[in-house]
Amino acid sequence: MMRPDRGTGLALRYVAAVAVTLLFLFPVYWLFMISFKTPEEIFASPPVWWPKSLQLANYAVLFKDGDVVTIWNSVVIASVSTAAAMIIGTMCAYSIARFRTGGNFFTDWLLSNRMVPPIVIVFPVFLLYVKVGLVDSYLGLILLYTAFNLPYVVWMMRGYIQDIPLELEESALVDGCTRWQVFLRVVLPMARSGFFATAVFTFVFAWNEFIFALVLTRAEVTTFPVQVTHYFGGQSNFWAKIAAMSALGTIPIFIAVTLLQRYLVRGISLGAVKG
């Protein structure tokens, strides 16, 4: 950084940061505003920047019709599949990182699973699920999302675990830990930032996943993204429902990210340095 214009440089950087933040925040702001507007306000021209009253009718409808249950469905499916992928994936990653389980090829092969475009396997999976009776069930989507996220979790966690100095683990072994204790008492705390960062991305993937949810669910476990699409081409006030539903759908992610923010920034930048 150049000394003489440090003040100006700093100011410019703040201006740029604020501008970019506003740019990214605007759609979110607009979404929430629509969810509070009356139908007239939604279609008003020039646009209404701030509705007269923050009326909750659009939300009330969702609760009355029972549409919000789809959010609950998404919460269950995304949380359980994230937990499963994180637990299995982290243990798998530890095994690969420290014992070279499966050799070099295995890790690359794992990652290559992520490269298959989901659409390619939607219908085979659908036919399979019809046979085994997993269509329109929590378990069906949970299994699928876990499988989808596992390669990502293994790949990311392997990187974080490799960054942990071996001495820490060896010292724990000599001090009287079993391998399992080393994993719980040294590896997990040391990889905490990366763990939570990975978990958030895993959760977001499961939360947003659409194609499989669309094809593999009927009425029982419709997820929130699928539900939103049901409003397209519906009644005249469908914009209001889309906005209200979407607003509700961002809240869990918002909560997760806020709670884990401390770890997220470190976890993501760790990964960035590691490459």
Binding site: E167, L173, V174, D175, G176, C177
Partner: protein, 355 residues
Amino acid sequence: MGRLSIEGVHKHYGKVHALKGVDLDIAEGEFCVFVGPSGCGKSTLLRCIAGLEEIDEGRVRIDGEAVEGLRPRDRNVAMVFQNYALYPYLSVFENIAFGLRARKVPDAEVRARVGRAAAMLGLETFLDRKPRELSGGQRQRVAIGRAVVRDARLFLFDEPLSNLDAQLRDGMRAEIKRLHQEIGKTTVYVTHDQIEAMTLADRIVLLRDGRIEQQGAPLDLFERPETRFVAGFLGSPQMNFIPCRAEGGALRFSCGRSLPLSRPAPEGRDLLFGVRPEHFSRPGEGDPRPRLDVEIDLVQPTGARTYAQFRLGGVEATAELPAHAVERPGARIALAADMARAHLFDAATGRAIRD
């Protein structure tokens, strides 16, 4: 408690033959130091004792019990690592207590034992801090605390001081020695610093290329090296090795100079005359000792002593002299060598020649 015996231990890392048959017995309470050049297998041997590496052949016994098949936790040894190996997310207290917690020692006893270890190492006021809030020396003390707090049969140290600056290192070295005197635990200590080795050890084990080159009390190795390698490894500046031959009761150097021998030496073979720099001196008037007339070509004052270099027998040799013995390069002076403390080595095999 704490007898260690190693028999015919071999260790391979893939194609690398890191330990080539090591035999060693360490008595209870002994302070044993492994030294040797980088890559000679010191850490490997230590890790084999700790159980962090599996050996391919041979036996490792602790108190008579064969431990090759045991996991590290079942060997009941404590180890201090070069980079401290402290857990950044735990307080100093919990770092020291780590091994006790892993073994599910009751809380009251953990408190008592950690308190005692902390007092011994002067860490009482730091117990609530995180490792990153400590200096390097304090961190190493915590690492030692982790070992002390456990009732281990052996203490293993792998270059515990090499990350500290010189001054701190001297202090910690003394502290480790004092600690050993207090606790009296059998200790195996790896270093490549010969000062550490000489000052700490009851016994030095000098390793070279996966084998034990020589072992014994520090002064024993220093004064009676069995090979040229041992002689050259211990002592600073290094011992001079000057090519020569024995002829008619004298050593003849290629430059034409010679020194009378004080004891018989095999004739007709290439030899190395080994003499430590401090065993050269300037003979006074009427000194009966044989003299070497040399021309000094480099003078290195270090304060108390001055190192003077000269050529002898086609190689550069060093003499350690009093501070003002030589002022400038180019000086021609007479030197006397202490022949009783000098050594002869076979140039081909490197083995010492004794009578």
